[in-house]
């Protein structure tokens, strides 16, 4: 069997990468400081944390749901992890009597917190059948309130150097955060295309009734989806604390919206059942380059939001028209 490569299909499926390339070229021409190592590294580091949230949240959207909790979860796990990795020499430690412990313990505890909240989301959505929007709006409020209660809304500063390394360090010339983002992309992509879980979630998002009749345990899979999203958000929170050298209950505000926007721009359909990891990566980078580009060009922060909003809307309009033509 000989197959000629279908260029037309390839381009139509990856048109979003073309948009990204065009944007990058335009920026290179418009601003000499865009295509520098320092700037590109900065963009990647900034977007990695949002990116990790996005590869979690995209599963929820794929399953025809949504997750509004990640931003608040970032706040919660930033303070949970930070509270246990403060320098022992620092006098204002949150738990002055806490013995020294390896940093993986607070990290694992944070991940568990994320999974627990995710499981709660999944359970609410799968079993009480309340809309995902409502369920995760509720847990968003709860998670952020937990972060504030935990710290009395004080920041948790002066973290250990080996913890901060996760957010600030480099392996060779690659920032650790970016590396972790790449690992999450690979895991998410692998689950999506190479496992039964991925196939199940595609089917649930496409037609949950059909999925059920085909013997798929819809409830169990939905819980897994939200646990994964909660887990991703927890990791995002840990990394943000490491990156900024402190945990803070006000961190991660609106991060979930950026993550949802990235997944949406990347072609994840809110009617469920459609999602490509490559699209989501492009979506994250497009929003990142846009933000960075406008900053470099000195466009006002308020106007930036206008562009961002317009791009998200345009992306969905374009995507829907493309799909409408197909039918």
């Amino acid at each position: 069997m000989k197959k000629s490569f279908d260029w037309k299909k390839f381009i139509s499926q990856n048109s979003i990468w073309l948009v990204l390339i065009v944007m990058c070229v335009a920026m290179t021409i418009l601003s000499p400081s865009f295509l520098t190592k320092a700037n590109i590294t900065n963009v990647l580091m900034t977007e990695s944390i949002i990116g990790i949230l996005a590869v979690g949240v995209m599963w929820c959207i794929l399953s025809k749901g949504i997750d509004l909790m990640p931003g608040a979860m970032v706040a919660l796990t930033s303070v949970v992890s930070a509270s246990m990795v403060q320098e022992l020499t620092y006098s204002g430690r949150m738990f002055p009597n806490l013995p020294d412990m390896p940093i993986f313990i607070p990290i694992i505890i944070s991940m568990l917190v994320g999974c627990l909240f995710g499981a709660l989301n999944g359970w609410l959505i799968a079993y009480t059948k309340i809309p995902a929007f409502i369920a995760t709006l509720g847990t968003q409020l709860i998670a952020r309130a937990c972060a504030q209660l935990y710290t009395n809304a004080y920041p948790v500063p002066t973290l250990k150097a080996n913890f901060k390394f996760l957010g600030q360090g480099y392996l060779g010339f690659i920032p650790v955060v970016v590396l972790i983002f790449v690992i999450f992309v690979v895991i998410s992509g692998f689950m999506l295309t190479q496992t039964r879980f991925g196939a199940n979630v595609y089917a649930i998002g496409g037609n949950d009734q059909a999925a059920r009749v085909a013997g798929i345990n819809v409830e169990k899979n939905l819980i897994k989806v939200y646990v994964w999203s909660g887990f991703c958000a927890a990791v995002g929170g840990v990394l943000l604390a490491a990156r900024s050298g402190a945990g803070n209950s006000s961190m991660g505000l609106n991060y979930e919206l950026d993550a949802i926007a990235a997944a949406t721009v990347g072609g994840t359909s809110h009617t469920g059942g459609v999602c490509r990891i490559s699209g989501v990566i492009a979506g994250i980078l497009i929003l990142g380059v846009l933000k960075n580009g406008m900053l470099l060009l000195g466009i006002s922060a308020y106007l930036q939001q206008v562009f961002k909003g317009a791009i998200i809307i345009l992306a969905v309009v374009f995507d829907m028209r493309k799909n409408a033509k197909k039918n």
């Binding site: 496992t195 039964r196 196939a199 009734q209 059909a210 009749v213 345990n217 359909s269 059942g273």
Partner: protein
């Protein structure tokens, strides 16, 4: 003025691959109640939908009040004077009765809705129909019968010349039916032409003046109700001999594999018992709403079982979900292909392997998935440009074949097929029939639900007939009772 308020002549309606109406006629006199009768799929509903503007007819003429008309939407039809009361009412439950009656055409004073007038108009309207309802009550608090009255009042408020009622009594109690009939007679006496669609023989003879019968999208005949009787009507509705297009091959029938005793689930499945043997095709006949689909859904674990015993291969089993059913080697090709069959935006390949994903390991063996899809697409003659094609772009018949492939891939011992040929073209239909027969020949046990009597009779070894959630009879091929008239009688609730 002609003697008819409505004449529909040589109406043809084609859907892709199906000719639902093949040039039928219908004539309605003002001031009469006119029954439309026929089996499921005879074309009654299609004809009415062509009339009120839900469908556009392919050919033919509609003459309404001496003028040729062509409605583009239901609103057009209502404004002209044709109202339809659907079997499934669609009220706005959280608004008042008055709001529902005047929805979209509320009386106004300038920009503002004139609530007082709306209320008074509603009261006057109800009074003229002797309906005792509070216009301020929330629609959602009304019973189905009361909601229906509101719908009828709404039709009257449009000064309709024609009111169409599709199975209006299906969820009414006897007293409520009496009340409905009183209003229907009142409408009739005021000169309204009422079109009455129902399967209930006794009601037809109680309320209707004229009867028109359809079969397979063709016009069979027209009678005055007083000149005909139940038997004559049934034989007209069934009409044909079961034709020979069904490839029934006698094959050895083995042991009982599935035994269902006193199955109950909700209101739809009241008391169902039957058994199924290896190599047997067990037909399920009945009218729409007889509870056949609900019965197999209960067996398959989609619906909760209230009580009853299911014995599989001699052992009692509890099936709580389709997952359990599939593990017990049962497959269910559902009736609602789009609703719970295909995953439209996924590919042919994804849809084919959906129920069999467990077999492809971790990570998924994509080569094996491709192999299996190729094999079954070829075996079942699915016409698709490629296996990556989205299934929603395939024709209904090919979608159905993919779904059959999905279940064959799981290699079930029992395959339940619910309306397997509904809405698919003749060619694919014959292929599916051949396939089902072949599967039975391989020793699989088949349950075939079909509302097309010829299909059920052409394919089955035995037929379980259901009526309103209960089994009214089991008829064996080549027995004395094996006649369409007898089975049709059982469908209408005549017990053996």
């Amino acid at each position: 003025m002609s003697e008819y308020v409505l004449e529909m002549l040589d109406i043809v309606k084609e859907f892709p691959g199906v000719r639902a109406l093949k040039g039928v006629e219908f004539k309605l006199r003002p001031g009469t109640v006119h029954a439309l009768m026929g089996e499921n799929g005879a074309g009654k509903s299609t004809l009415m939908k062509c009339l009120i503007g839900i469908y556009h007819r392919t050919a033919g003429k509609v003459i309404f009040k001496d003028k040729e008309v062509n409605f583009n939407s239901v609103i057009d039809g209502m404004k002209a004077g044709i109202s339809m009361i659907h079997q499934e009412l669609s009220p706005v439950p959280m608004r008042t009765v008055a709001n529902n009656v005047w929805l979209g055409r509320e009386p106004r004073k300038g920009m503002i809705i004139d609530k007082k007038k709306m209320r008074e108009d509603t009261i006057a309207l109800f009074k003229s129909l002797s309906v005792d309802l509070d216009p301020d009550e929330l629609m959602g608090n009304l019973t189905v019968a009361q909601q229906q009255m509101v719908e009828i009042a709404k039709a009257v408020s449009y000064h309709s010349d024609i009111v169409i009622m599709d199975e209006p009594t299906s969820s009414l109690t006897e007293t409520e039916v009496g009340h409905l009939f009183r209003i229907i007679r009142q409408l009739r006496d005021e000169g309204v032409g009422v079109i009455y669609i129902s399967h209930k023989m006794d009601e037809i003879f109680q309320i209707c003046d004229e009867i028109t019968v359809y079969r397979d999208g063709t016009y069979v005949g027209h009678d005055l109700a007083k000149d005909t009787n139940v038997d004559e009507l049934i034989s007209k509705m069934v009409g044909r001999e079961v034709n020979e297009m069904f490839p029934k091959v006698d094959c050895p029938i083995g042991d009982v594999i599935l035994q269902v005793e006193n199955l109950k689930s909700g209101k739809q499945v009241k008391n169902v018992s039957f058994d199924l043997r290896k190599g047997e095709i067990l037909g399920f006949a009945g009218l729409v709403g007889a509870g056949r689909t609900e019965t197999v859904e209960t067996i398959f674990g989609i619906r909760r079982k209230d009580s009853g015993k299911i014995t599989l291969r001699g052992k009692e089993v509890t099936i709580k979900s389709p997952e359990d059913a599939i593990a017990d080697k049962i497959g269910l090709l559902t009736e609602d292909r789009r609703g719970n069959g295909i995953v439209g935006i996924r590919s042919v390949a994804d849809n084919t392997v959906l129920a069999h994903l467990k077999a492809y390991g971790f990570p998924l063996n994509h080569r094996k998935i491709k192999q299996d899809t190729d094999e079954f697409v070829k075996k079942l003659n699915v016409k698709t440009p490629s296996n990556d094609q989205l299934i929603m772009n395939l024709s209904g018949g090919n979608q159905q074949k993919v779904l059959v492939a999905r279940w064959l891939l799981t290699n079930p011992d029992i395959l339940i097929v619910d309306e397997p040929t509904r809405g698919i073209d003749v060619g694919a239909k014959a292929e599916i029939h051949t396939l089902i027969t072949k599967l039975a020949g391989e020793g699989k046990a088949i349950i075939l639900i079909s509302s097309e009597l010829p299909e059920v009779m052409g394919m089955s070894d035995r037929i379980v007939v259901m009526h309103e959630g209960e089994v009214t009879g089991v008829v064996t091929r080549n027995s004395e009772q094996w006649s369409s008239e007898h089975i049709m009688g059982l469908c209408h609730g005549e017990k053996e």
